[in-house]
């Protein structure tokens, strides 16, 4: 991933409601009515996006918290954030 993309920040999209319920995030997209749940790692990424962290920062935090390798987290995190963008949950923070 190019450096400038890693530095990008994202925000929770308009119309997205959410709540952490016990150990998972429940997300409701009021634009289309879709409801989905995020598991532990997905929820942590979502929290960090909400806190306005860049992808680079998120990768560093997840690597540390989940005690895994940089490369694994790099690939998984970018893929995950792309899926959140595609489903309209997050958008780029201009």
């Amino acid at each position: 991933m190019e450096t400038d993309i890693k530095l990008k920040k994202y925000k929770i999209a308009k119309g997205i409601s959410f709540r952490k319920i016990l150990d998972e995030f429940v997300i409701v997209n009021s634009q289309g009515g879709e409801i989905l749940t995020l598991n532990e790692s997905g929820g942590r990424i979502f929290e960090l996006l909400q806190a306005n962290k860049s992808i680079e920062e998120i990768i560093a935090i997840i690597t540390d918290e989940f005690e895994t390798t940089d490369e694994t987290v790099n690939n998984d995190t970018t893929e995950y954030i792309n899926s959140l963008i595609e489903t309209g949950i997050v958008t780029e923070d201009d």
Binding site: S17, F18, R19, I21, L22, V28, S30, G33, L36
Partner: protein, 330 residues
């Protein structure tokens, strides 16, 4: 997707869905309405609602239904919706639809509004306004629906079925669906909150209910109710809060668990006596558990309590509907 989330909420007694009655005031005077409009006193202030929303977020509430009376009568409704949106609630609004304008349409489009629910009582102004007892209410509802449609806000239009309008069922369904809205109906009329049964004088007779289900060509899907389950979500995964802060298991079961002006919402949710009772009971513990109509019925313990004085009774209203539904299945 939503049922597993509610099951988790029930299993852990999390109030995932909460209804708040912002006010008992209303600009209409519907014949069937259960709300006592005279008790429009001592409403929670804007600040009290902000604190309530904070408490609900901490209790893991996600779905917030804003109801009344007519919520659009509250001058602070926009501030409350903005705050609820910032607290990440998924918001439903129950309204007559008669006080909407373009400004509201633009505003609602920008908020976390999952859906609006409004009611229709007839296919024409005469029938509809007869129910609301306010001339012009049908036309104002149509204007409101147009604004919701223009702003692409998901809207459910519920047809409240009475002996005066049931023959218009098909016409209303077609009309609502042509507008792009979801059509629902409700044949159950309840007493007023003070147990005055006047609204139920408009209820369908047995013959009329049979005819209504025939007119809409109702297709039955009996539900296999598991008797070890809760009878419903009231007090288990939902609650309702009145304009003056009383906390109920739901909008229908008016047995207060406490008042948020006297104690914390968390304390009321965790320890309220009626909540404890509901959490200890399963379908098998109610009369419903041994009823042959169970799989055709949507037993409402609030209605049961209002009709019999005991949540462990049987509602004649629910029983009639279930009987006719079972007949159609067989």
């Amino acid at each position: 997707m939503i049922e597993p989330i509610f099951q988790k909420a029930r299993d852990n007694n999390i109030p995932i869905a909460v209804l708040i009655e912002l006010t008992y005031r209303c600009n209409l005077d519907c014949q069937h309405c259960y709300v006592i409009h005279d008790q429009a006193q001592n409403e929670l202030s804007t600040k009290e609602y902000y604190e309530l929303f904070d408490s609900l977020a901490k209790l893991q509430t996600l779905f917030l239904t804003i109801s009344g009376g007519e919520p659009f009568i509250r001058k602070d409704l926009k501030e409350l919706i903005i705050y609820a949106t910032k607290k990440n609630f998924s918001i439903r609004l129950f309204t007559s639809g008669t006080l909407l304008n373009n400004d509201w349409g633009n505003f609602l489009r920008e908020m976390n509004i999952l859906e609006i629910e409004t009611s229709i009582y007839g296919a024409d102004p005469t029938t509809h306004d007869r129910m609301t007892r306010i001339s012009g209410s049908f036309d104002n509802l149509m204007k409101g629906l147009e604004i919701l449609s223009k702003n692409k806000i998901k809207t459910n239009v519920k047809f409240i079925v009475t002996k005066n309008n049931y023959t218009q069922a098909k016409e209303i369904k077609q009309f609502v669906e042509e507008l792009g809205f979801n059509f629902y109906y409700d044949v159950i009329l309840t007493p007023k909150d003070n147990l005055d049964t006047t609204p139920q004088q408009l209820s369908l007779s047995e013959k009329e209910m049979r005819e209504f289900y025939r007119l809409i060509d109702y297709k039955v899907n009996p539900i296999d109710r598991e008797k070890e389950e809760y009878i419903c979500n009231a007090g288990v995964a939902t609650m309702a809060i009145s304009p003056d802060g009383e906390v109920y298991p739901c909008v229908q079961l008016r047995k207060s668990a406490g008042n948020i002006r006297a104690e914390s919402l968390k304390n009321i949710w965790d320890k309220g006596k009626i909540f404890q009772r509901l959490r200890e009971s399963r379908i098998k513990d109610y009369k419903c558990g041994s009823c042959p109509l169970l799989n055709y019925c949507s037993p409402c313990i609030g209605l049961i309590d209002m009709e019999t004085g005991d949540i462990n009774g049987c509602s004649e209203t629910n029983k009639l509907r279930a009987t006719i539904i079972k007949e159609r299945y067989e």
